[in-house]
């Protein structure tokens, strides 16, 4: 998914090979990660797709089933991976992820600490941001979850950028070996205030910490504990509103008045080359994910 070797650029025009991870795209809300294997087939409502037909085709290709149904084969990116990964925990989505990377000031070469690993949705984007020379050390106290995350990072090809440790960060803090070395720390823990003193030890002066919590009470306690060693405390909520788009000739469900106008308008449409396109917000949306609290380690050294 990521390129660490400067001689090898990320090239999506690359052809699909045996063993590659591809994102099978049926629809924008129906995708799936598949490991390509010569003998395997993919079966879905559109029919049976032979992997052997895929090998040698470039990413982004449309491939057909035995019944003539089709899917697209996409190269994996952290965004697509977030949509297809198996949920072992609640995960972070694109709006929060993007904001976290930007606000933590993560750039190539950074050393980043994370806890918990969870399903590795954020971890994958952290790895992209520190590549090619940085590293993400992520910790989860759940042994199997850490193992599954490791398998996932192997699968997505980012394992050289990520190390998964099994550790109770709330109880034990981050390992001393990272003391004063971390550029940024991310916490997604039920009681972040227990891990904040340790996070403060790990960060370089002026380094940034982020704590993600769904509940405002968690934010309140986290901020209370941040005030002693941190400065520039800021708490945000970030959401996305999505829009659906229709053209005027396609207004079956709108009330009669508008429909009439559209049937009249269709004569005009014949002549004009661009149909009238309309957009409106989708009625379903996430109302809340979590609060993002950022703080900067006070710079006390001379």
């Amino acid at each position: 998914m990521l390129s660490i070797d400067p001689t090898k650029k990320i090239s999506f025009s690359r052809h699909i090979c045996e063993g590659d991870l591809v994102i099978v795209y049926e629809r924008h809300d129906n995708m799936k990660a598949v490991k390509v294997s010569q003998e395997s087939v993919l079966q879905n409502r559109f029919g049976v797709f032979k992997h052997s037909d895929w090998i040698g085709k470039p990413f982004g290709s449309k491939v057909f089933s035995n019944k003539g149904g089709f899917i697209y084969l996409l190269a994996p990116t952290p965004e697509l991976w977030t949509l297809v990964l198996s949920h072992r925990t609640q995960i972070l989505y694109i709006a929060d992820i993007s904001f976290v990377i930007m606000y933590l000031e993560i750039v190539p070469g950074c050393l980043v600490l994370e806890s918990g690993t969870g399903s590795g949705s954020l971890t994958t984007s952290l790895a992209r941001a520190v590549a090619p020379t940085g590293h993400v050390y992520t910790f989860d106290f759940h042994e199997e979850r850490a193992a599954s995350a490791r398998e996932d990072f192997e699968k997505t090809g980012i394992s050289s950028l990520v190390t998964v440790g099994v550790r109770d960060i709330q109880g034990e803090g981050f390992p001393d070996e990272f003391s004063g070395l971390a550029d940024s720390v991310f916490l997604d823990l039920p009681q972040p205030w227990l891990a904040i003193p340790s996070a403060g030890k790990m960060l370089k002066p002026d380094g940034v910490l982020c704590s993600f919590s769904p509940c405002i009470e968690q934010v309140q306690r986290a901020c209370d504990s941040l005030r002693s060693n941190f400065t520039d405390l800021r708490t945000f909520e970030v959401l996305l509103r999505t829009y659906e788009v229709r053209d005027e000739g396609n207004l079956g469900s709108l009330p009669g008045k508008k429909r009439q106008r559209s049937s009249k308008g269709s004569i005009v449409l014949e002549n004009s080359s661009s149909p009238i396109v309309m957009a409106r917000p989708c009625s379903e949306a996430k109302g809340h994910t979590g609060y993002l609290t950022f703080a900067r380690l006070k710079c006390l050294s001379l």
Binding site: L2, S3, I4, P6, K8, I10, S11, F12, S13, H28, P58, F59, G60, S61, K62, Y72, L74, P78, E79, I94, A95, I97, S98, F99, I101, M102, Y103, E105, P108, G109, S125, R128, A131, P132, T133, P205, D206, I216, V219, C223, D224, S228, N229, R234, T235, E237, V238, L240, R241, T242, Y243, V245, S274, V277, A279, P281, T293, K298, C299, L302
Partner: protein, 449 residues
């Protein structure tokens, strides 16, 4: 191998300032933001006094400075806050004390303060520090004692800002640069909010060793943010219609190393196009004239009017204007400019392999016309993201991309960002928020065959 070494040294944004480095100065906790370049001669104006920035050179980013009185008058001096913090609201005794006081006895007759302006000037002449003046103001305020703890704290902060200003030394990052511009001169960066910028970078999968194409008509902020993510690997190619590249002054505010600057290149769209023929070039050049005119018409008034209606609070209109006259000289004394012409070898490689991502922020160009020409330059499966302040052009563009089957995973999204005040017993959303961060159309290019 040697290249690898130089790379790992140059990717990191250094944490200590040097002579000639670009910094963001945050005065009084975000009240005023000033971009500056540190040199022996540069100064910062606070109130009606100019302070040399020399003392800031060689200090770690994140350092705090306050005004101190020296033999040669006031100067900026490093201030080390105590570990426990200078916040007064320490323990949870707020709730208990809070209930007994309110503002029923408060009369707003402007007689509460017994110190006069002359008194304060006299104190200053006698060498009183800002904090001493603040203490004196509190001691001479008839109403201070009757204020609630919350409003006492508010009062102290307000006086501190005026009489004991603090300057925080910030690293210029995409985050801080975007926020500073958005706060003061949003029009210059096309009203691109920081969360929107962060989404564009994710949606287009901007990452090390990827070749990214950008149409940046937002002053270079986008180009700079992309280069920051690439860390000196591969190229950011800023393309433009016509013969004049779009300005990228904001790029200079980032403290990019030579290595990173070399990776920010420009190329006219005509040179990137796959079917490059003489006749098409001529046609393009005719269009160029039109485009240039339209550009000028759009840009000139906006920048002028920005100056005209700039907030009256401070006389720092020039704060955010990057120094165009000062040539960018880095610490080694040689200067590398970002935005050189793309090397032919790179262009050939892009023509062969395609770009691996694309971001467009071109409010003055027709989105559909642009994407029609740019999408074929991407490799298949490459993600792209288009920013616009208006919904309609993106809706039309999305519809056309669907009809022409050029892309999948198409989505228009609008980010929403709300900040919170978190304080003991006083947590709530901030009273003021920005209600609009623009729209993004994102998608993935597919094979046309």
């Amino acid at each position: 191998m040697s290249e690898n070494n130089s790379q790992s040294g140059s990717v990191q944004n250094p944490r200590v300032t040097w002579e000639g480095c670009s910094v963001l100065l945050d005065i009084n906790d975000g009240d005023r933001l000033v971009f500056a370049r540190l040199s022996a001669a540069s100064t910062l104006k606070i109130g009606n006094k100019s302070f040399p920035l020399q003392p800031l050179i060689g200090c770690p980013f994140g350092s705090l400075f306050q005004v101190e009185n020296g033999d040669n008058g006031p100067y900026l001096s490093r201030f080390i806050p105590s570990i426990e913090g200078n916040n007064i609201q320490e323990k949870g005794d707020f709730q208990s004390q809070e209930i007994s006081k309110d503002n029923r006895a408060l009369v707003d007759n402007n007689k509460a303060q017994s110190l006069t302006g002359e008194d304060i000037d006299t104190m200053r002449r006698q060498g009183a520090t800002g904090d001493e003046i603040v203490d004196a103001l509190i001691a001479n305020s008839a109403t201070f004692e009757n204020k609630t703890l919350f409003s006492q704290e508010k009062y102290r902060l307000k006086k501190q800002k005026k009489y004991a200003p603090k300057v925080l030394l910030r690293r210029p990052f995409a985050r801080s640069i975007c926020e500073a511009y958005f706060k003061k001169y949003p029009a210059r960066i096309g009203f691109l909010r920081v969360d929107t910028l962060s989404l564009l970078l994710s949606m287009a999968n901007v990452s090390a060793n990827s070749d990214v194409l950008v149409v940046d008509m937002v002053g270079g902020l986008l180009t700079g943010a992309m280069a920051e993510r690439l860390g000196g690997t591969s190229y950011v190619c800023s393309t433009y219609l016509g013969s004049t590249p779009y300005p990228m002054d904001v790029v200079r505010i980032f403290n990019f190393s030579d290595e990173v600057c070399k990776r920010i290149v420009r190329s006219p769209l005509t040179e990137l196009s796959l079917s490059q023929t003489g006749s098409s070039e001529q046609i393009n050049q005719q269009e160029d004239v039109l485009n240039m005119e339209c550009l000028l018409n759009h840009q000139m008034p906006s920048s002028v009017s920005m100056e005209g209606i700039s907030p009256p609070c401070e006389n720092d209109i020039s704060d955010l204007i990057p120094e165009t006259t000062v040539s960018l000289v880095n610490k080694k004394g040689n200067s590398t400019k970002a935005g050189n012409k793309a090397p032919q070898q790179a262009i050939d490689s892009w023509k062969k392999n395609g770009f691996s991502s694309l971001i467009i922020a071109a409010p003055d160009l027709d989105t559909w016309d642009l994407i029609k020409d740019l999408l074929p330059l991407l490799s298949n499966s490459a993600p792209f993201a288009i920013y616009h302040q208006y919904l309609q052009p993106l809706a039309t563009c999305m519809h056309n991309l669907q009809l022409e089957k050029m892309a999948i995973g198409l989505q228009i999204s609008e980010p929403w960002l709300r900040e919170y005040q978190v304080l003991p017993s006083r947590t709530h959303p901030c009273m003021q928020m920005n209600a609009f961060g623009g729209y993004i159309l994102s998608g993935t290019k597919i094979s046309s065959s």
